[in-house]
Amino acid sequence: MRVHLQRDVEKLKRAILALSAEVESDVRTAVRAIEERDEDLARQVVDREAHTNAMEVDVEDECLKILALHQPVAGDLRYIIAVLKINQDLERIGDLAVHVAERGLFLSGQAPLDIPFRLGEMADKAQAMLKAVLDAFVNLDVAAARQVCAADSVIDAINRDVFQQVKKAVAHTPANFEALIQVLHIARHLERIADHATNIAEDLIYLIEGRIVRHTSEVSDKPRGLVTTVPALSDTTTEPKP
């Protein structure tokens, strides 16, 4: 039974790795589409949505199968539960990337806005958080996960700043209202991507330490040691073993 569980967990690891890579790529491409006013890049992200959604369903199916057939416990159980939750966050991040791309499609048909928004900074930070938490997931790095949680407040602050900037810009140039609303939406989507990256970090802390830190201030506490034999994603081979 142990061998069968191991085989199924390896398959799950490959699936969640693939989904992580796809979602990270979608966010990066959507942000580029905005920055470069590139309609083709935006459409690539929109067209990939169905594939990302199908991958999410496959991961969930695999998790349910493992739970039903193997009744995992301890570290194995926490791993499956964490993957189930991370899977949902990744799918939502994928949706948000699509929304960003759709805003980009609209903006590419408008005159460029010449306003000193901090959108670029926000996009960089949100992408960095996402990359950091996915790396932490691969390496089961709880310290890195805690850093991602701590970074969320910075994005929130920038989002509030963008709101104020848009407010002033609308007052100054009402004719740009439609385009400015899109900027506000993009900022909101990036802020939500950062929130989901934080959720993933919290799920990772649960996976490694066995503690639910959501809605607590424990995230910033020193990590507690917990012996776990959860396999790191970095141990996953890219090809299935014969």
Partner: protein
């Protein structure tokens, strides 16, 4: 749930650096733990880890094994189980036992259950009948055998025989029930009946169950003790043991990486 970790539940049995030797072989090595009253405690571990030896030490069944001796302290309600003045027979009334293979006497159902009360307390007549009915009811067997009390117990199914053995143990009013792999010889349906029964008896009795079936330990117990090569590796609330075990050895065992 009150657990040993909460230090709220009183301890029914306490072991302190308790060891059991079979001649030169130390089968149980300086185990220290407290069994909380009114709860179900499971003892798990690979074959030969000492779990059955520890269980049998609690009602001095090991006295029947030549060359078996103990060291350290084992208390029942604060009194030494291995004290010089302890009557082992009386002890086994208070600490009953059910074994892996059902072992009803080759007598009627009624005689099986009434044997203990008749022998220990000279109970007879209607009081004896009441005890038999109550014990069989508590063992979830009354409805199935109430019209067959005079039939030979060996004619019952395996699961019924095991419940009869539980009724027999309950008939002498124990405080503790020791169960040594009570469902190993039973089919899945009979196993579930016994597990349901354990759930019903929880609270009224302290139950200690040795099982090699980790899923069973997870299903039925409040606390779990994991033993390996005679040593108590970890003891705690079952929920915590099976979600976030403290010791790597425990994690490795319950996830099937060894054992």
């Amino acid at each position: 749930m009150r657990t040993t970790e909460d230090n709220l539940a009183p301890m029914h049995i306490e072991a302190s650096l308790f060891s059991v030797f079979y001649r030169a072989n130390q089968a149980v090595k300086e185990v220290t733990l407290g069994i909380p009253a009114g709860m179900v405690t499971a003892i798990i571990g690979p074959s030969g880890c000492g779990k059955s030896t520890l269980l049998r030490a609690m009602n001095r069944m090991n006295d029947l094994v030549p060359g078996c001796r103990t060291e350290g302290r084992l208390l029942f309600e604060g009194q030494p189980i291995y004290g010089p003045d302890v009557d082992a027979v009386a002890l086994r009334q208070s600490i009953g036992m059910v074994f892996q293979k059902p072992n009803p006497f080759p007598k009627s159902v009624f005689e099986n259950v009434s044997y203990g009360p008749r022998l220990h307390r000279q109970v007879n007549g209607s009081e004896l009948a009441d005890i038999v009915e109550r014990s069989l009811t508590d063992a979830a067997l009354w409805d199935e055998v109430k019209d067959r009390l005079n039939e030979n117990a060996l004619g019952l199914s395996g699961g019924q025989q095991q419940r009869l053995c539980i009724a027999r143990a309950l008939a002498v009013d124990p405080q503790i029930l020791l169960m040594d792999e009570p469902t190993s010889a039973l089919d899945p349906r009979a196993t579930l009946r016994i597990e349901d029964l354990i759930d019903e008896l929880r609270g009224k009795y302290t139950i200690i169950i040795v099982t090699h079936n980790m899923q069973q330990a997870a299903r039925v117990s409040d606390c779990t003790a994991f033993m390996y090569e005679g040593v108590l590796i970890e003891f705690g609330a079952t929920k915590a043991m099976f979600t976030t075990p403290k010791e790597k050895q425990t994690e490795d065992y319950i996830t099937g990486r060894f054992g």
